[in-house]
Point group: C2
Chain length 190, copies 2
Amino acid sequence: MGRPEATSHAAIEQAAFALFAERGFEATTLDAIADAVGVGRRTLFRYYRSKNDIPWGQFDQTLAHFRDLLAASPPELGLHEAIGRAIVEFNRFPADASPPHVERMRLLLRTPALQAHSALRYAEWREVIVEYAAARLGVPVDALEPRLLGHTGLALARTAYELWLDDPSREITEVIEEGMAALSGQNWIG
Amino acid sequence: MGRPEATSHAAIEQAAFALFAERGFEATTLDAIADAVGVGRRTLFRYYRSKNDIPWGQFDQTLAHFRDLLAASPPELGLHEAIGRAIVEFNRFPADASPPHVERMRLLLRTPALQAHSALRYAEWREVIVEYAAARLGVPVDALEPRLLGHTGLALARTAYELWLDDPSREITEVIEEGMAALSGQNWIG
DNA sequence: ACAATAACTGCACTGGTGGCAGAAATGGAA
DNA sequence: TTCCATTTCTGCCACCAGTGCAGTTATTGT
């Protein structure tokens, strides 16, 4: 029981994205979003930890989904390939979800305040990889291999998104796969 | 001519780091730093773009140094190896500079506000690699290979720093070289 | 009705950031 | 010495995100 919720994540995001598109992220105040949603400014903080978190949506669920994908990887797959495949699947979206997804990612990757804030979300995302890799390798989570894999996996995903935002007509999944091939060819020692 | 400067980057950083060490980054206000330095709060913004920029020091010079290192790479070296070597040299410090450097990096890598802000500095650092790689490959800076190399180079450096901060008695240069070897063994395709 | 519950919201405060105008210190010219 | 041009410093004001707190409101169940 108790008082029913006055709004929802979906409603807030819809109002917020409309304002962001109209006047930009930085120029949109929380007051403006609260007004558009029809709720007090203070209430927004009950749904999102900060203004910067709104474009990320309900990231906890997103993370859990990624963790599930990794956990469901066929064990016979090589470690890198398993992670690569999970990243690909994680970024497979129905075609009609593409335009809003482009907008969201464009906002996240091209707005300075969000570029900065996103580092915190990326760290959580990397940690999912690190834990999976450490478990499969039977080494601690602070060992070199899993740490490097976490960072490399993120490097792969971010690279793919940068390219995809330049040309959203391509499939992000294919860009990721291209990146995986390029990664495999890297030789850093003499 | 004109009025002489009331302080210096060195003086500000010294005062700031002392306060950060004493009470933590977040708990240190700009007023406190300004008081310690003996200047008005407003003046700090003439030396650093933001509070978050103080721990990074004079990053422009740092970037220029890294760019010089890359430019001085022997052309006969493979592309990845040249970048790897430049990253190693970039992080070679005299032994007596180590303790303050550890403190600086610990602050940058373990303070949430700075983890976020640092993404902006990392992006500039990556771009140096991207431009070097694109030039050597004769491709645009927004092509896959240089972009991926920028991200991978950063992944390498950040991984090394994470491990080094766990055990600063090691040489950061050696940790980076270990990372280069591990990177070279990654195979992401089936 | 009324109590219990859970959510909403206004208020006051802190701290970073930016614009602006005026004050202060310096070297050189008159 | 006095004055001027130049450069830097600084105080004031305003804005906005974020937080703690206390009081309000809407439901459900008794």
